[in-house]
Symmetry: D2
């Protein structure tokens, strides 16, 4: 994730944030976009009791939701203006229980492509005692060009 | 998913439903448990605008959240009373945009084990025009025995 | 894997077998193609001591090699004449130790697409005592059109 | 993969190399172990025409075979003397065609555990023009204790 990428769209920052704002799921979860770079996006999620599984940790699927958005927008940031992004598949490893004050989902492009982009990401739990890795993801994203209803 | 399993805990139905009720994330999403069998669990999720991504489909991560719960509880249904279940990892393929009136997440055990269980599942979108496969998952679940704070 | 597919290329059987014959890795492993249908391919692999890992089972990666070919050719069987197939990614679960007299890798298309196809497959170990599931795979394949050096 | 690990077995180097030597599949492929550290293993594979797929690249499954061994032995290097290692599952992304003079598979532990270890790895193709990333893997390994026939 230390590669330097040349975005095809100079307005990628605005475009990523606009699309993120359209994701009502992010509002529902309380997630916000913290950083946008070419090929890298960070999303923050505060702990919220309403997002927990049976042991009081954030549900693995909720962790995957913010991490999928971080990876997807990392990919989207490198795409041209007439492309939209769709997730084809991802794999997530849950490495530690998702407990903490807030969570940081970092998504980065591993291999960009005209049709298919591979991204990877990690989620860290932050608390008074520091930060801890709780999940890692590898995902495959597809560029969709000029399709009506899928513009953002 | 057509195997017949012998549950170690005869009260598996009650135990699965009790644990599901403790998942506040399910209440937040509006998901409910529709069926519990030994090694198989079905969860329903009505379409809700608040769960969408930027194109108005249900967010891939939200689809994965209900499917992870279905797979996890399918595994849990076969575990003894002193075990809890944690997701180690899963892979999800998003096969069609998640649009429809409601969604059916079906999780089933592929290979049970004392420490590690493999489960798989599918999500179907239901609408007036019928049902359509939107996602498939394969996941690995871990049994955790007699650990304080992780009993359900 | 019970879907019925319409192949775009009526000569798909010949084309799949021709491409398989070009895979020198299959010859090295001793694998042969046992069945070709539209969207489904079966490969056989006899047990061979030279393919084992440290406990005397067939190496997980070797199992994945024949299963990847089965899934890839299942996808390829539905592609038009000017397309070649490349594996983007796959996930494999090793469900039982790969021991037996011979192995049957069954690959089938889950969701065909012009650019991206999702396939899944299973490997069974056969021996005197019957057959046993040893691995399952989900993979994503890409169609590559009219690219020099990648025609088969 | 920059973590520092404390191996439970001080003779981990000898134990890893001994087990690797028992993998007849490695001999068949022509792979050799290049480096062993606590939590990290590197395997080399020269290009060999007999390992190719239909376009003349090394078969994705063969790439996964050496990378699975690198990840598995990275996990094994941190395990106690009475444990053996088995791969539960892995996901591999094929990022570029596997062509080159030789290949370097680097496996490292992401999260060690008594029963379950998560490892990740990458394969680089080396040629006169430098090196290129061709694949990345995430895998889950299981420790098996004191089981007859699975000691190495």
């Amino acid at each position: 994730m230390t590669q330097v990428f040349q975005p095809e769209n100079p307005d990628f920052d605005t475009r990523v944030r606009h699309s993120f704002d359209l994701q009502k799921a992010m509002t529902t979860l309380g997630a916000s976009i913290a950083k946008v770079e070419a090929g890298k996006v960070i999303i923050h999620l505060p702990f919220d009791d309403k997002l927990t599984q049976q042991h009081g940790f954030i549900h693995a699927g909720i962790i995957s939701t913010v991490l999928d958005s971080a990876c997807g927008y990392a990919a989207f940031s490198l795409m041209p203006k007439n492309a939209a992004v769709l997730t084809i598949e991802y794999k997530i490893n849950l490495l530690s229980p998702a407990k903490g004050d807030w969570f940081e989902a970092i998504g980065g492009v591993k291999k960009p492509g005209r049709n298919v982009t591979v991204a990877e990401g990690e989620v860290y739990a932050h608390s008074g005692s520091g930060k801890k890795l709780v999940a890692s993801m590898v995902g495959t994203l597809m560029s969709v060009y000029d399709r009506e209803g899928i513009e953002h």
